[in-house]
Each structure stands twice: as C-alpha cells, then as structure tokens.
C-alpha cells in the first residue's frame, strides 16, 4: 500500500485523524515498528471510516443541544481560527482590509450557532462549512453597515439616482468626483485606523476604538464592552468619556510621532 510505504503520508493521516482503538496482532508489538504500525493502522482505519472533524462536530453539536456548559468554549477553540482564516481570505479578495470586521463576523457566526444550535442541520452540510457560510453573511452585513456609516454608498446612490432622473452630465460628474474623493478618504481613514489599532495594547481597547471609529455615540454600547452597565448612567458616561479621551489622546500622540 502506498500510504504505509511513505512515512510522511501516514504521519499526515495521523495528524488529520483521531486515534481509534483497534486490535493489532500482538506479535507486532514485539517488533521495533510495532507501536508505530499500531498508530498508523489506527489512523488509516479511523481516517477511512470516520473523518476526525466529523466526530468532533457530531459530538459538539449534540453537547450544545444538551446544554453542556463547556461545549461553547471547546467549539470556539476548535473552529474560531479556521473560520477567521477563511473570512480573512474572502475579505482580502474583496478589498476589505479591516481585520476587526473579520473578527466580528467570525464571532457573530459562532456565537449565534452556540445560542441556537438547533438551526444547524447536520444532514445538509458540515458544521464548519455551515459556520463559514454564516460568517460570510455576517461579514457582508458588517461591511455594508460600515460603508453606510462612512456614507460612501449614499454618494454612489446619488450618482445612480441622478442618472435615472436624467440630470445633466456635468452634475453627474460632479457627484461622481465627490464619491471618488469620499472613497479615497475612506481608504485613507481605513489605513490610519488599522495602523492605530495595531498600536493599541489590549483587545478591549481595540474593541472600544473600533466603536469610536465607527461613529458610535451610544454610551450603553461602550458601557457593555467595559462591563460597567451596572453603574448609574451618570457614572457610565463619566467612565466612557475617560476611555474615549484616553483613546483619542493615544491616537493623537501616534499621529504626532509618525505624522499620521
């Protein structure tokens, strides 16, 4: 058999599969290659019979349906990274460079499944495939929301409406130039934002900064991220303002240092 003659191939199989306890003739344990062959055979048989991921997915899905409190953490540790990689590649291919949008879409998809596991039908697709597709949908929504906030789309809509309304070509060109300037400005802001976020220390600061940059003005959202929703509203406003001022100061210092 090809696979057994190539150690690398077999090792790949072992890495890709869970070990199954299978009976290996006891005489093999006596020879030097006994334990190695035991592993190889176990891996090959388990790989052929049940792919490792399918085992994990079936177990985690049933644990979530049974309300196992430790299942969400296990799912996150196993699937967040591959989903994030998949979405990052998709985002990059479509010109989206903002990593925080990818992170949010990944987490939204996984958290939604964790809280509503019954939505997933194991007969339709694999769990990882389902989560990747859900993540893609969430990413599209995040990007749309982001663009709406930056008003880029509104300007494009203006162009389209003007054409439909039969406005003069000069007016349409003027609006188009504005839209292009807006897009250039947006890319520039995006670049500054990414650079600033790479300088931010903790994840909490990055989440706060993302909210701040997206133009969010609702104190409750900042308070939820900071974990101070329990405080009186005046106190929440004070703490949120402190954090906003600190972040703005950090950004300002960075701009002074590196020239924007």
């Amino acid at each position: 058999m090809h696979g057994l003659s190539s150690k690398g191939f077999v090792n790949r199989l072992i890495a890709k599969s869970h070990h199954l306890a299978i009976a290996v003739p006891s005489r093999l344990n006596g020879c030097i290659l006994g334990p190695y062959l035991n592993n190889c055979l176990g891996a090959v048989v388990s790989f052929i019979l049940v792919p490792a991921d399918a085992n994990f997915e079936r177990q985690i899905h049933s644990r979530l349906l049974d309300n196992d409190p430790t299942a969400p953490g296990d799912l996150c540790r196993e699937h967040l990274k591959p989903i994030e990689r998949h979405l990052a590649a998709r985002a990059y291919a479509h010109g989206v460079r903002d990593q925080s949008l990818v992170y949010d879409a990944t987490v939204d998809a996984v958290f939604d499944y964790i809280q509503h596991p019954a939505k997933f039908d194991a007969n339709q697709s694999t769990l990882l495939g389902y989560l990747k597709r859900a993540g893609e949908r969430d990413l599209i929504n995040q990007v749309r929301r982001d663009r709406r906030l930056r008003r880029g789309e509104e300007l494009h809509d203006d162009v389209e409406l003007s054409i439909v309304a039969g406005n003069k070509q000069a007016d349409v060109e003027k609006i188009r130039r504005n839209a292009e300037a807006e897009a250039v400005g947006r890319i520039d802001t995006e670049r500054k934002l990414s650079a600033a976020m790479s300088n931010m220390g903790g994840t909490l600061d990055q989440v706060l900064f993302r909210l701040l940059a997206s133009g969010e003005r609702n104190t409750a959202k900042f308070a939820a991220v900071l974990g101070i929703s329990n405080l009186p509203i005046t106190e929440q406003r004070r703490v949120v303002k402190q954090h906003k001022d600190r972040l703005k100061k950090t950004l300002q210092r960075r701009e002074e240092k590196y020239g924007g």
Partner: protein, 138 residues
Amino acid sequence: MAEDQILKWAVARAGADTFFLAHDLREYQSMTQIDDAGLARLLHCPREALGHLGLCRRPDPSSNSFRGEVEAIASHCGVSDAQQLAHLIREVDAVLGMRAGPLPEMQASRSSSSPLIAARDRKKKSSRGRAAKSRKRR
C-alpha cells in the same frame, strides 16, 4: 497579530453577553475592582484559564443542575476552587437581580391594589365654618 487574537476577541465580546460566563467574571471584576491576576488567584486557576472559563455557558443559579454544571466547568477549565466559582456566580446574580428592578415593598406600594393607605388626622372644623352652616339651616 498573535495566534490567539481571535480567541481574545471572542472573550471580550462574550463579556458583554449574559449567555457567557465572561459576563459574570467581568461584572465581578467591576464590582470588586480586581484585575485578571487577582481573579485567577481567587479561583485558584492559571490566568490563561480565565479565557476558557469566559467562553463557557453561564450556569443558572436557580436551576437544579447549577452545582453539577459549575463543577463540570471548573474541572474542564482547570479551576481548583469550584465552590468559589459558584459563590462568584451567585453573588453577581444577586447583585444584578437587585439592580434590575425595584424592591418588592416598593412595588407593592406602587400598585393600585395595595391595601396600605396612610392614616391622617381628621381636621377640626373652624368655629367660623360651623356658625355659617348653622345660619344657613335657619
């Protein structure tokens, strides 16, 4: 970016979601003003375990399975002091419960069906008023 950046992001997001234990851990930290290291010491677990702990589902203190679920979480995430974890969840639950709404007595006094009515002294009628009434009768 670090390899586990997405996990850290998930834990930060879970902190704002009452479904996850991260929400209670963050609430407890803001109530007691302790940092991650202090919380890890309190629960007798390594600091890295806090992330794992935060992504677990928050057990409901009013449920019958609360104790079993806390023990399962503690042993799964490497927390030595399951009792302290249970205490933390109950404490946060109690504080949030009190903050969520008015006290029962206050609710009772606000409701229209309340049997409690404040007693007042009857005002003495002035002598002028009495004289006017007697004149009218005549």
